[in-house]
């Protein structure tokens, strides 16, 4: 048995247990701080292991480490590192300094790595549950805060429902095809006469379950409440790493086992993508809370990403991966700025609180401007390049309507992004924010730098995404 293919996951899980034991037994006063730094170290070490690991199918066909999984894993690990770093300072200030916090983030990351490496519907489900369960707990982590508890409970109940839908779909697929392994399913379905209605219904249920996890319309209802209620670093984490993993999983499930049924599921994905883009553009306009606005923004972004999947081609998958890279770094930087919105020790999260930021903190205002322009998809920022690749792939596949809807939705969403910029530069100044800790400045700065100059040398990322997409189709 080729067990070495999962060495990064095994190493990360074992390091997680070590950190947990250290946290339990340590008598140090700043255990949270030490455990967070150890978690960052563990994630970086795992990334090195991912880079040096040998690919292949292992564990009786349950686990597949290919170039696609490697790309997604590196992105997930990068997002998780940023998530842990931005959480350190926030938790210190908000009485959440408990060492379980980074450990739960670490196990969520293990779950995500299993998700992107899944080559069987069973390992897909186990990875998804490990990831989701950790994040349910993280969302409710501020347990004395009513909104946080509500967010955790809401996410848990709806997430359990989505898991139920997913499992029901998996059972239908298994019942009508006789296998849960991706390669076996692809083999069975290469003869389109085997695609019975029951199997299609199963696929629809699986799509519904996965659409919930990436908060695509019409399974998005939980997103604004959970994003608003959860502690901000958890929101930052939820908006980046799990989204990458869930999208990567979604793409793999659609392309690898069900790729031969493209004609059957393409319409479904087109519909979900359109609805997500339009809702993300219009529902965000009326928001006054920046975390809720980011929730609608992420719904919209998931729509754009699904445009690439709807194309169903190698170019489409490449576009999805490039979009994910730009999305992760822009969002991580954006949330670092949101976490830095603190006055006299209290976190503020209204958009109006950003009024006149240009005068009190030009650096943060400049970084936010870069992120917002990028999310709106203006050239030359990285968000434009991501959108360029997904819409280009959709055009090549003949999905002209979808691409046009996408561009229009993007224009509408530019309105509310640019409104924030207007608040920062032209509105009456609010009192200055508290001094930013270095960790947030570093994440925001790195994100802004990446977003700003990505257009100068996108070649390495594009090449890696190309190789990853080829690995998926190969």
């Amino acid at each position: 048995m080729n067990w070495t293919v999962a060495i990064p996951e095994i190493a990360l899980a074992c390091l997680g247990m070590a950190i947990l034991m250290f946290g339990v037994l340590s008598k140090a006063r700043n255990t949270f701080h030490i455990c967070s730094l150890m978690t960052v170290g563990a994630l970086v070490l795992t990334a090195a292991l991912v880079l040096s690991s040998n690919g292949g199918l292992g564990y009786n066909g349950l686990f597949l480490a290919d170039s696609y999984a490697m790309f997604a894993k590196l992105l997930v690990l990068a997002a998780a590192v940023l998530g842990v770093i931005v959480s350190i300072d926030y938790n210190e200030h908000n009485d959440l300094r408990r060492f379980e916090f980074p450990v739960l983030m670490l196990y969520a990351t293990v779950g995500m790595m299993i998700m992107v490496s899944a080559s069987n519907l069973m390992s897909l489900y186990m990875g998804l549950e490990l990831q989701s369960l950790s994040i349910y707990v993280l969302a409710a982590f501020a347990r004395d805060d009513l909104r946080s508890s509500e967010a955790g409970l809401k996410y848990f109940v709806l997430g359990a429902l989505a898991s139920g839908l997913l499992l029901y779909g998996i059972s239908l697929i298994y019942g009508f095809s006789g296998s849960m392994a991706f390669d076996q399913l692809a083999l069975v379905l290469s003869d389109s006469s085997h695609a019975s209605p029951g199997l299609i219904v199963g696929i629809v249920f699986v799509v519904a379950g996965l659409a919930f996890k990436i908060s695509a319309v019409p399974f998005h209802m939980w997103t604004p409440d959970v994003y608003e209620g959860a502690p901000t670093p958890v929101t930052a984490f939820m908006a980046t790493a799990p989204k990458v993993a869930a999208v990567a999983l979604f793409v793999r499930v659609m392309i690898s086992p069900f790729g031969h049924l493209l004609a059957q599921w393409q319409q479904l994905i087109v519909l979900i993508a359109m609805a997500s883009m339009v809702l993300g553009a219009f529902a965000a306009i009326g928001q006054s809370n920046i975390k809720r606005l980011m929730a609608y923004s992420s719904i919209g972004h998931m729509g754009y990403i699904l445009v690439g999947l709807a194309a169903g081609t190698q170019q489409g998958v490449r576009g999805v991966l490039i979009y994910l890279v730009t999305y992760v770094f822009t969002n991580a930087g954006m949330f670092a700025c949101i976490i830095a919105m603190r006055r006299r020790g209290r976190a503020v999260e209204r958009i109006a609180d950003l009024g006149g930021l240009w005068r009190s903190d030009p650096g943060m205002a400049a970084a936010l401007t870069i992120f917002l322009f990028s999310m709106a998809g203006l050239p030359p920022f990285s968000g434009f390049i991501g959108k360029y690749f997904v819409f280009g792939a959709a055009m090549q596949s003949g999905l002209v309507t979808l691409a046009v809807v996408g561009v229009l939705a993007s224009a509408v969403s530019a309105y509310y992004y640019i409104r924030i910029i207007k608040v920062m530069y032209f509105d009456a100044p609010e009192p200055a924010f508290d001094v930013r800790p270095a960790s947030l400045s570093i994440v925001a700065g790195a994100g802004a730098l990446f977003t700003l100059i990505f257009f100068l040398f996108p070649a390495p990322v594009v090449a890696a995404a190309e190789a990853a997409a080829k690995g998926l189709f190969g």
């Binding site: 899980a13 379980e100 186990m126 369960l133 950790s134 707990v137």
Partner: protein, 232 residues
């Protein structure tokens, strides 16, 4: 012959008790019927030769899940009659969904073709290994990866339960009700009681008075009552 008869007996009781679970008025009775249903399902597993599943069903579902249900039902004191009030209102929608599902089920069942020879795979194949050993072999070889990931899921669940509920970490927490035996034993009467001499007209008495009184709580003055009693 006996196996067939046993199957029908257990199946009939199973269906009847399942119907009682949803129709019983008293929720405690409903849970007890649920337990009966679990036992009958376990018996059906036994008839199929799946003794491990039968035992797991009894241990996990009856031993843990159903007993928890019973506790919850008894402790929460939910008024189920009130919860059923919306029943009439939502009946059309529910009935419509039910009919759709029934039609779908019928469509599936009428189009169902059994593969030749499938009947032999219905029960566990006879082998030298018991099915506990067979399951063990599968879980620890082919599915070791999933088994270990399940372990991680349970670990996360455990961490989550502790993080979200355990409260005695904080020194200032007053919610924690943990018993500290050393403090209890070290407590003396001097910590909690004061002996006072109270001047009275009658014979001198030592009155025991609590050291700490709630603000606003008025102590009945013992002297007055005594005097009052004496007056009569």
């Amino acid at each position: 012959m006996i196996a067939t008869a046993a199957f029908y007996v257990f199946a009939a009781i199973l269906i009847a008790s399942a119907a009682m679970v949803v129709s019983a008025r008293n929720p405690v009775h409903a849970v007890l019927f649920l337990i009966l249903a679990f036992f009958n399902a376990a018996a059906l597993f036994l008839l199929l030769g799946a003794e491990f599943l039968a035992m797991i069903l009894v241990i996990v579902y009856v031993g843990a899940v159903a007993v928890l249900f019973l506790f919850v039902v008894m402790m929460l004191d939910i008024n189920f009659a009130e919860m059923r009030e919306g029943f009439q209102r939502y009946l059309p929608v529910g009935a419509a969904i039910g009919v759709v599902l029934l039609v779908e089920l019928a469509a599936v069942l009428t189009g169902w073709k059994f593969a030749p020879g499938i009947a032999t795979t219905r029960a566990a194949p006879m082998s030298a290994l018991t099915n506990t050993a067979q399951l063990g072999r599968l879980i620890y070889t082919d599915y070791i990866f999933l088994f270990q990931v399940s372990g991680l899921v349970l670990l996360v669940a455990m961490i989550g339960a502790i993080v979200l509920t355990l409260r005695d970490r904080r020194p200032s927490a007053t919610i924690s009700r943990r018993q500290n035996i050393a403090v209890q034993i070290a407590r003396t009467s001097a910590d909690t009681m004061v002996m006072m001499d109270v001047p009275t007209r009658g014979p001198t008495m030592a009155h025991i008075k609590p050291l700490v009184t709630e603000p606003g709580e008025e102590l009945a003055d013992p002297i007055d009552t005594h005097a009052h009693h004496g007056g009569h």
